[in-house]
Symmetry: C2
Subunit: 284 residues, 2 copies
């Protein structure tokens, strides 16, 4: 049994701005949960045409401003675009509940608060190796965290409905505040992303394709995130600079001293013991 | 069809020193490939008893010195122990072909060369989250790289037979030299290991278990190696200090500058582009 607000769900008619991997998966998961839901999409023409052909969406609009007749608007775009879309929603005086899927939350929540929108921040912790509607899946959010971010001034009824919506899509919804969200993500998402990209670049440029052929599954795991698109990540890093810099500095301090260059940093044995312990606790 | 030297394989009677995850998996894979192979094991009593009960090995000896009647000796132990075992093989004047599974190769190959043994270095690039005979699997090496490391003075017939043995166990054998091996491993194995452990420790100690609950599959991938045992890794890092330090320094230079602290390092956009390109080439 899902706590999804009944057969019609918490919203009967929703607008989705951006039918990429995340927006497209939200559409598929919403249709899976509530077969009668009406979806109105905003995206470029070829994407809209594909979505209409698949009967994934019923209608489309040329811009977010025209989403005047939906109960929920989901902004499924990169962070800087979301901030821009929030301004346009405010200028168009849209009355719908608005949520987003941005990877950082402070600047987005602040932008919405300034404009007095009925906004509830969201962040589904899910992804895939390839973006685009063609890789969207109804089960992308199943059992994945979906963080609901709203400040004290937020409309509680709207927060409850967005949480119900995320649960209906299969996710494990959890509430947090924008500061906690951005700080935690710096450590568990943004720092790992930078490390994965830097490791891929470092290893490949020093050992070449022949050397990479000698690598195993550990290296493949550690570099899977290196497929992430730089243009999306530019906006994420730019809106979380302070916490990312803090996380990066902490990581550099945690790297062990190798051989004779010890300078107060922990030895490898101590680091491995700590890491073993934390991993075991995380998996409990 | 396997090129495994026929139904009896390249060695009819083999000694395995250390029946942990790797040594135990070699025993299982050898039995899968050559049902009539005779395996003589050296390990602590409870491990030997388990292996005899499972009919995985036929005989056991109390020490490597007693492996006088086998055609191949596999040293499946941590790197410092392998170096020690090589000395004991030499002192006992053993005539078998000797190979090992150590994660670094320069010190091991040098130790064997000094003692005029018929030694062929080996390194199966395979592992699992948990060690021990109870997690050993016949398919652990299937399609995984198995690096064969021998210097110019090595007995070519012995090198060929060890390579045939590795192929028979299911692995993709490839030859290299000890210097290349250790340098490549510093980048694709030892650096990733240090990073995974340091990331696990940094993230967990700054955001706690509650914060880790907000993490996704990317973080799980990036910290899977944090389960690696520190005692084994101490020996790996100690025998590859120069290359590991070189790899770590290169990695630190590749980490992007965040915001205003640019000091000649690449921006995130450039790093992402390089990482995307290398990953795509690696997967081709």
């Amino acid at each position: 049994m899902r706590t999804d607000g009944g057969a019609d769900g918490p919203f009967r008619r929703i607008g989705i701005v951006g039918l990429g991997l995340i927006g497209g998966s939200i559409a598929r998961a919403a249709r899976r949960a509530w077969p009668r839901v009406e979806i109105v999409a905003v995206d470029r023409r070829p994407v809209i045409q594909a979505a209409l052909r698949q009967e994934l969406v019923q209608e489309y609009r040329h811009a977010v401003d025209a989403l005047v007749d939906v109960e929920l608007i989901v902004l499924a775009a990169p962070v800087p675009a979301i901030i821009n879309l929030i301004d346009r929603c405010a200028a168009a005086r849209l009355r719908a509940v608005i949520t987003d899927v941005g990877s950082t939350k402070r600047q987005i929540v602040q932008a919405a608060a300034r404009r007095h929108l009925s906004f509830v921040g969201g962040h589904p912790i899910a992804g895939a190796a390839y973006g685009g509607l063609e890789h969207a899946r109804a089960d992308l959010f199943d059992q994945r965290p979906w963080l609901i971010v709203a400040d004290a001034a937020a409309d509680r009824a709207a927060v409850d409905r967005v949480e119900m919506f995320a649960r209906g899509l299969g996710a494990s919804a959890a509430r947090t505040d924008a500061d906690t969200h951005d700080r935690v993500m710096a450590y568990v998402s943004h720092l790992p992303q930078l490390i994965a990209s830097a490791l891929m670049h470092t290893a490949a440029s020093h050992v070449g394709i022949d050397g990479l052929a000698m690598s195993g599954r550990g290296f493949a795991d550690m570099t899977r995130l290196a497929s992430s698109p730089g243009d999306v990540w530019e906006g994420i890093l730019a809106t979380n600079e302070d916490f990312v810099r803090e996380a990066l500095a902490a990581f550099l301090r945690a790297l062990p001293s190798i051989g004779s260059d010890a300078d107060g940093r922990p030895g490898a044995d101590e680091l491995f013991r700590h890491a073993n312990d934390w991993l075991a606790r995380m998996r409990q």
